[in-house]
Symmetry: C2
Subunit: 386 residues, 2 copies
Amino acid sequence: MRDVAVVGVGMTRFGELWEKSLRDLYVEAALSAIENSGVDRIDSMIIGCMTSGLFVGQEHLGSIMADYLGIKHLPASRVESACASGGLAFRHAFIEVASGMSDIVMAGGVEKMTDISGDGATYALATAADQEYEVFHGATFPGLYALIAVAHMEKYGTTRDMLAAVAVKNHDNGSMNPNAQYPFKITMDMVKSSVMVADPLRILDCSPITDGAAAVILTTVDIAKKLGKAYIKVTGSGHATDAIALHSRDDLTTIAAATAAADKALKMAGKTIKDIDFAEVHDCFTIAEIAVTESVGIFEPGKGGEAVLKGETALDGSFPINTSGGLKSKGHPVGATGVAQIVEVYKQLTGSAENGRQLKNNPKVGMAQNMGGSGGSSLVHILEVA
Amino acid sequence: MRDVAVVGVGMTRFGELWEKSLRDLYVEAALSAIENSGVDRIDSMIIGCMTSGLFVGQEHLGSIMADYLGIKHLPASRVESACASGGLAFRHAFIEVASGMSDIVMAGGVEKMTDISGDGATYALATAADQEYEVFHGATFPGLYALIAVAHMEKYGTTRDMLAAVAVKNHDNGSMNPNAQYPFKITMDMVKSSVMVADPLRILDCSPITDGAAAVILTTVDIAKKLGKAYIKVTGSGHATDAIALHSRDDLTTIAAATAAADKALKMAGKTIKDIDFAEVHDCFTIAEIAVTESVGIFEPGKGGEAVLKGETALDGSFPINTSGGLKSKGHPVGATGVAQIVEVYKQLTGSAENGRQLKNNPKVGMAQNMGGSGGSSLVHILEVA
């Protein structure tokens, strides 16, 4: 396999973008990534998108996005793994460059979530759970993650304050991200007094419904050197699935797919979790960030909540988590999220994170962990300074 | 890139399978392929499916199918390119094996189309066209292909009889396929007097709504040799897109994405179209088969219809097309179709096609051409006797 680099990134602002369509969003991010990287062509494109069919009645994204980018006959694929679709796009772009099939590949992600009416978004997102054994019976994602939260609290004594601290920390970081949907700070009291969604999760424990897109350019390290712009290396890629339905999991408090994906990615990179300087992780709900940081080995099982409360995952902590603001503050256009995580890791590793959220400790190795459904799939990537 | 082989295939019967769900269908085909190939594991799985979100409210297919196959933590991806989703799954499985990322990869395809009520299937399929510029204004696929048919008739003098001959020939072949949805012969008069759908296309010019799944196992040629079972080589893979909307195409009578994909696949295989012995092509409508056989170079532009009428594409013709019965007779579960094409090419090249449809001329090289939408994307693969 050839050595692979990320040579440029782009993304739209995340938010309720009424004036922009699915294709507008994708093309904006894609052109931004092409310009940022300095490449004069792409050979292939992999698009992560969860469910544009349900959100806006449009499938066949490879065709429509290549068409609207104006790149005739471009091989363009759409991949889907629920909210991990972006991470999956990145992995397939990585494999395609590593294989020698293509030299310059764009990995993009997009979701247009605010055009659907009523409770349509809740139904569309629920297709990431087991339709026949969960959704049909009334379970949707806030409820499923609430079950995980209750189990975590029961088993480990995780507290309401620990959950709230995740949201407060991510809004602190997101307040410095010009692309964030909610670029403002919140307080512990605001989280704890916000409206209840699914006990114990309140609205400020939940990531929002978001429109947005992100794109990154992957190529060989050899080509990256010739481009003469900042680039980082992709040294590990891990992908794993788990039972889609919560009732089939061995343990509700662990995201086993994240553990398996992280183990594979770290092994491929020749690293352990102690070699990682910071991570973007999938905080679709506050409990998810805690469970994931434990599942990938950053903290011991049951110690993730305490670590947040102590500030260990803050920008100036021992292991910064979600410097971008995470899904919570930056927003969560589901198919774009995994790619936007790579955008943030690229920025941190190239020293270009905006508005004071650049890590001060000269980070060398970052991790991006993306997750589908209630943990039915996970993608983990390890990225390093060149 | 490593040399890649197909070492085993499996598929369900195609049809209106009321008693089988999306996951039932996929798992049946997958287990059949695993058994047929003699592998004792798979390292990864790529699933082609167009729009299970709209058809049955289920996305996140990587997770649910790995789960129901009982393979813990399997990396499993879903890919989508409308009706070319199966061909796209095969391509990504090919790239993954060729890259060295995985040694044994399943490419599967599935669609459960008959559980949706009313005109839901027509709407779901229309998401492969341009939602904003075609579908919103009332265009669905029979109408779009009717435009192609009218243009072809105007430009080349293609006749009603030529279209009908495609359907009759494919039903002749499909009558010998035990997995076909419509395994019976039809006559020219039956096609020409069947109910009008979109002038000039009648119901017997159209492929049906189908439930079904197919799967194939890809591995390295080195591993294939050790398995000791029949295998074939994958020597060419081509993928291209084109404008998603008909009004943006240079020429309505040509499928430019198929031309571009075939050119790439043939170049990779070091072959010309004259080296190909037979092909499975995407006959979603009778006019599609004629346009595709011309677009990939089997016949000169405007000569495809005449060739069918003369029997050149029949089982005993000079260039047999759709020996399986094609989408018309075998059925068209959209995400599965591209993989089912590979199943047929594998059977023909290993001499195992059932019930008298085995080609007699000892074929050495086959082509599979899969198409999305009205030609917005196409996948072409070249497969050869080992």
